[in-house]
Symmetry: C2
Subunit: 497 residues, 2 copies
Amino acid sequence: MSDSYERLIAKLKRAHTLGTVAGLLGWDEQVNLPADSADQRAEQLALLSELQHAAASDAEIGELLGKLEGGANSRTADEAVVVRAARRDYDRVTKLPAEFVAEKARLSSVAYHAWAGAKAKSDFAAYAPYLEKHLALAKREAAYLGWGDRPYDYAIDKHDPGMTALKITALFTELKAGLVPLVRAVAASPIKARPDIFKGFPVEAQREFLREATERLGFNYRRGRIDVSLHPFCEGAGADIRMTTRFDANNPLDSLFSSIHETGHGLYEQGLPLGLQGTPLGQNAGMGVHESQSRLWENQVSRSRAFWTFFEPRFREKFPAQLAAVSSDDLYFAVNEVAPTLIRVDSDEVHYNLHILLRFELEQRLFRGDLAVADLPAAWNALSQELLGLTPVSDKTGVLQDVHWSSGAFGYFPSYCLGNMIAAQLWFTVFKTLPGLEADFARGDFSRLLSWLRKNIHEQGRRYDTLALVEHVTGEELMPKYLLRYLQERYAPLYLK
Amino acid sequence: MSDSYERLIAKLKRAHTLGTVAGLLGWDEQVNLPADSADQRAEQLALLSELQHAAASDAEIGELLGKLEGGANSRTADEAVVVRAARRDYDRVTKLPAEFVAEKARLSSVAYHAWAGAKAKSDFAAYAPYLEKHLALAKREAAYLGWGDRPYDYAIDKHDPGMTALKITALFTELKAGLVPLVRAVAASPIKARPDIFKGFPVEAQREFLREATERLGFNYRRGRIDVSLHPFCEGAGADIRMTTRFDANNPLDSLFSSIHETGHGLYEQGLPLGLQGTPLGQNAGMGVHESQSRLWENQVSRSRAFWTFFEPRFREKFPAQLAAVSSDDLYFAVNEVAPTLIRVDSDEVHYNLHILLRFELEQRLFRGDLAVADLPAAWNALSQELLGLTPVSDKTGVLQDVHWSSGAFGYFPSYCLGNMIAAQLWFTVFKTLPGLEADFARGDFSRLLSWLRKNIHEQGRRYDTLALVEHVTGEELMPKYLLRYLQERYAPLYLK
């Protein structure tokens, strides 16, 4: 290792550490912040953001990268990964003029409030001008980075390195072809899950159960915690991963599965090489891969018969009276209920993908200029009817439901569906590789699965782009057929028997 | 206001904001940090400490101060306060060589662990070398700041601006003369508080009661919170003040009074002018004044008959069975029990002052060179016998009981006793000024007291040095007679009737 390389690592770690401090302040804001302390927190975060930007755009990083890129032959494979990824990050930070960054931050702040107000009143017109400005900024941003001819690809690549709209279109087209018939068949099925079987589940017992479940899945509470916030999330890095959930006495599965979802994210972060924290070798491979981990643990693992074979007696121990009249089949069906909803975040894992297809289609049209922002609500509603069989009664439950665009986060939604596809493909691979895995789960042992994910996904850091990682681990290109097969195998026995 | 002045304020606020971030990380470390995340937190804090030091020692602050000090005539009184205090802070930050600061930080880290180990084994000899090094560093530090001939005064002045060992000696001598006879008389009294009346007080009900009590005293929970930590403390600044407490089902008064103590600190911080945060006008006046606020609310207010007139029914409502056989007099006596103990932090408010007199005497001897570190345990034990009538059975409950010296915090202990004296003098002043205050308390109304403290103490910021503030507010020099009178009036009716 050269002096330049070591110096580069030190510089990267410094910027990373500032990022972890900002992350903790953000976590604290959602979990602990007193009602009237928000302005002070905003000032703290603004200063940290300035310092982090300064550290990440430090001219010495550029000089060190220049030196290290010149000496390509003398680098190890790991060092090459670091230099390549660090260059990518450095360019992203330094090629954007400070005025542009400030303008986008200001717009995001006012657009967030405009979105919240517009959503409350179902008044899309009040939000439209901010969306137009964000679209214009997104195109300018792509141009600064040299992607002026492919601004939407740039937006996608920011979240999932190497991914493009064309590749996603191919994947989503095949997925849609298989998914829509399944959804139609399930909707037409006379078999339905028993409604309203969850009433009066005390929060403290819910907390105990989810703690036991997430710990058994492998989350290390000596290097993390779970708290309560309005919306569940996972924040933190390295040795300190903080998840959140929320509780509803009449909806224990929401809390449980959102906790397990965040546990999937948390397991990934805990599995990244700790000693390489702050360097690309200690960083996650992108949003799609991250989401594959949360989805795999939430859906493939924790909605499975094997998982409930082990956990059902424990669940009943916590809630004996509440579950007295609920059969094992009722419980399993409730865990795997499929029903269309207008709201993405309330969606089951089958319909979820259709929500993403809708947003991906609309983002493409917006970036191509085929669709004016003013026409977005009508286009949304038409696609919603086509894909979900439901038309929003108001924009509040339609085009205004998501916060993402208010911060200019275009190209983010596809990651969710990519994550679902990756999770399913990993699922079939791991089952081929590790025989008897379901018997493990039925005994409450998830360690072989976790070890496999650690070795094949987590410990790879940012070594591969999204698709390359999938191919490296599964031996095949990413293919929608695995997600389709998984959904068919899980839901046909419930709904199509 | 000149451009230079505004620029200075911006620079001071920047350093302050970094300090508040470090403070939040410190709070989180005590309240939330997962077991194995300490190394990562240490890295974050080290980086923030570096950045804060850089911000506070920014050469431009020195230039701006130079300019502003030159234009003395054109400054307002407020600006003069800011420039004077900022100069003091800037010199303290910049006159210490970086190597010295690093050396002291390193020593404090190893000395802390040496102290903890030595305390566990009651092995003073293992700790002594670190104490000797800290003493040497404290003298060097004083010399860097131009106090080479009066290193102990420098240590005192750091905590209580303007205070000296000579002034403290005069105060403590008079205090001792009055206090020792009172303590002896109480010890000789056959009247004792009922032991062991507190058993099985559920933590949740304790939490509810202390929340109600501290809120009613005036703590604004929209700008602060209370959590649990091993040792109670108060941290934070401006709009976000975080207190902690601890719970013991068999000792509800410990939790309650430590919470009220921290509430006193918190009320002071919440009462500092929010808009001037980060400038000397928005900062507290020193440790003695800070401690006067915590003590006044903890002791004078919350151990009073009037306080319990209002709160006793509420306390009984939370713990009806537990208090069924406890009379009002039993309860009031338990709140005001006086009994000598070897341990300062477990001490009642009467004996507490003797613990401080002991430490002050020994610190003086150490700094004068009259006492070798090796002879400290013997000197401690002799003084303990003389003042408290108790000789430690081992150094663990004697010279090794306090953490302070392991970080080189000499000159800090006197602040606690100064705080007691200031609190008592304020108490008599406010009673003279606001007739009927006890009737307020008996109705659960503490707002007139808080408003008076806000106006006279909190909103003054760092406008006055410790003694000047006391004189400004009470119209008299600081005098021990008020503390003596308060203790006599409170404890004679209980013990000497």
